[in-house]
Amino acid sequence: MKHLLAIESLSREQIETILDRAESFAEVGRRDIKKVPTLRGRTVVSLFYESSTRTSSSFELAAKRLSADLVSIKAAGSSVDKGESLKDTVATLSAYDPAAIVIRHPHAGAAQLVADWTEAAVVNAGDGKHEHPSQALLDVFTLRRRLGALDGKRIWIVGDVLHSRVARSNLLAFQRMGAEVTVCGPPTLIPRGIEALGCEVSHSLERLDEADVVYALRMQTERMSESFVPSLREYAACFQVDTRRLGPRQLLMHPGPVNRGVELSGEAIDSPQSLIVEQVGAGLVVRMAILYELLAGGERPTTADEGEGAATRPTPIGQPA
């Protein structure tokens, strides 16, 4: 595995490899000294073109726990402000010979482009409304710990699916792990043609009780002004997941940050079936596992005589061998 660009191009085996690795890092996290020397002397660049709290902080902490040198760049205050193109920024950063570039960008396909332009391993930390693979991996990790396996589980993704990269990556990851997925929200916020991805589509929470897991999405307040919903009040009345709608054996997840009282009621957030805090904790170990797999993972041939293709670079994810 050279890059982590999209769940779409990951196999179940590749997902499980990362999750198993994350388990071993969870063990490290319980020690007094939480740092391992794996990436000592190697550089990780964190390049964020959009604001982010948990994704950027957990990737950065993950790199530090692995003893990598970290260069952290936010678009605001950098040369991006001065109009530098993504291509030129990547060329500049690549001059430091980083082992990995973690990129968050407001447009789909940005991580793939960076991968085309650099020798470093590229981690997609969110590209537009396209994908957010590390979020999906940490969510599967969290669920796997609670449920064992996802096979046959029914997962409802509720809310603004149209504008959500998390919805897309999670839908694919949950399905790849054997779960059945339903996306639910008002018709204005469900992308036309999403059922081609193999999910069910619902516009009502009436049958929510069939779900083993309810995954709520963030409802952004600006969607109102664009007429996607008439009001947050009406949205909450129809689609808020609260303790009345959530059964006691159903698990609740949310990628954060939550709009308390909009997509989730306060009681639901604080209820025992909520995994929201566990998700954040999983973020760190899963992102350590991602960096480990890309930079020190076992899939690469160690010597040049291991057969055909051994001397070439490993095949990037998502490209034919």
């Binding site: 779409e8 291509k87 447009h107 789909a108 482009l113 959500s164 897309r168 036309r192």
Partner: protein, 449 residues
């Protein structure tokens, strides 16, 4: 009226050519057979039995196994001048046209600034008489500065030589302004060419709305964004008895609207681009904006089949490339940020020959007819091989394979939707308005044939 008279081209010597034993196809003129094609001083003087033509004083081209067609006419080209000559200009754009077998093109007015005044038209025509290797006609904008608010001085623009009018690149959102333009057309003539799209429905869409946009998380442009505007303008054209030309049809729904309007007697014509006839939105999964980002967007296989059917039955009378050159830096960015448009002049015939004719989807004769069908909707005489006509012909090797982009482009820009594709069928020689406008270098050296 010949192309040399109705459009502008750099003056030059009339060609003296004998194409020996070419397979000649001109379906509109009813010509199909193996002939010597004799061109004297830029005029097709006769089609003789093979080997019979006298060759004194003429260049003889051994054309056995090669095909001669009426050269093509493209009613939809972006020459980018004035203002964006780093992408294209009259010289490079007409060279690309000649390389693709075209004997005439119409240039869109969405330059910077847009072509909105008689002085703009006069300057461009003068430039074409200095630099254009094939005849060019210029359209003026319908509204001043393409702002969609006030009509341009359409009478004066026509007197200065504007072939027609178009705000291409943008729709005319206001039905009131659209209606005024159609009314005013009675005064000044000139077909109004329409980029049909409802900006309210297109929103910030960057590709076709459907399963692929859902999977990629890209904002979609629904097919009805196009078809509803065509329906509006077809109704207005009917009401005002005006003449409209619908540009770059992309959706099945649009085809149905145009077909119904034609059946109802509306003076409406339509074009489709090679990329919409050959590709679908599945290509966008690659997120490659160089080849697959354009407006209107690539749509589904159902839409593509509807376009092909419309090409067959004449609902779409012509192929138009919407040749839209862009600089590399405008395309080397994420898909959503990239400029819209692809180049197409140099590859249109070869691509459609490869993708539609060779698999048997459409006949060669139909393609030849549609490639030159873009002249008539603008009141320009269709290129023909009938003896006595101004020589507008293209000589092709239908068996030649070539990889697009390998030898560079005649165009100044490289955003060809065919880049890297291997196509079958190649233009060897183009004669436009009686002059030799293009020769494939290797053919001139005797290598290709």
């Amino acid at each position: 009226m010949s192309l040399a008279d109705s459009l502008d081209v750099r003056p030059g010597e009339g060609a003296d050519l004998v194409l020996r034993g070419a397979t000649v196809i001109d379906p509109v003129a009813g010509i199909e057979g193996v002939h010597d094609v004799v061109v004297r001083d830029g005029t097709i003087t006769e089609l003789t039995t093979p080997g019979a033509a006298a060759a004194e004083g003429a260049e003889v081209v051994e054309a056995e196994g090669l095909h001669a067609f009426p050269a093509f006419f493209d009613p939809h080209v972006h020459l980018r001048t004035p203002g964006q000559e780093h992408k294209e200009d009259v010289e490079t754009g007409t060279r690309a046209a000649a390389g693709g077998g075209y004997c005439g093109i119409l240039a869109m007015a969405n330059t910077s600034p847009p072509v909105s005044t008689a002085a703009d038209i006069s300057a461009l025509r003068e430039q074409a008489r200095a630099d254009a290797s094939v005849p060019v006609g210029f359209l003026a904008t319908v509204t001043k500065g393409m702002r969609g608010e006030e009509l341009t001085e359409m009478v004066e623009l026509r007197e200065a030589g504007a072939i027609g009018f178009s705000d291409d690149g943008l729709p005319i959102s206001s039905a009131r302004i659209m209606r005024r333009a159609l009314q005013y057309q009675r005064l000044c003539g000139g077909t109004i060419a329409l980029h049909e799209e409802d900006p309210e429905l297109s929103g910030d869409g960057v590709m076709h709305e459907g399963p692929v946009s859902a999977a990629l998380g890209l904002a979609g442009v629904p097919a009805v964004s196009e078809s509803t505007m065509i329906a509006r303008d077809a109704a207005l054209a009917a009401y005002e008895d005006a003449r409209i030309h619908v540009q770059h049809l992309s959706a099945k729904e649009s085809v149905e609207v145009v077909r119904a309007a034609k059946a109802a007697g509306v003076k409406i014509s339509a074009e489709a681009s090679p990329h919409h006839l050959c590709l679908t939105d599945e290509e966008v999964r690659s997120l490659d904006p160089h080849r697959f980002k354009m407006n209107p967007p690539l749509r589904t296989e159902t839409d593509r089949q509807a376009l092909i059917e419309a090409l067959r039955d004449g609902t779409i009378e012509c192929v138009a490339t919407d040749h839209a050159p862009h600089a590399a830096e405008e395309k080397e960015v994420p898909f959503e940020q990239a400029a819209m448009g692809v180049t197409g002049l140099e590859t249109a015939f070869a691509a459609l020959h490869t993708e539609l004719v060779l698999p048997g989807t459409i006949g060669l004769g139909l393609l030849v007819e549609r490639m030159a069908g873009g002249a008539a909707p603008f009141g320009i005489e269709r290129p023909t091989l009938a003896p006595g006509s101004e020589a507008n012909l293209v000589l092709c090797d239908l068996g030649a394979e070539w990889t697009v982009g390998e030898g560079g482009y005649e165009s100044r820009s490289a955003n060809s939707w065919c880049a890297g594709r291997t196509l079958t069928g190649r233009v060897l020689v183009t004669v436009a308005a009686g002059q030799v406008a293009f020769r494939l270098r290797s053919f001139s050296l005797g290598v290709a044939a």
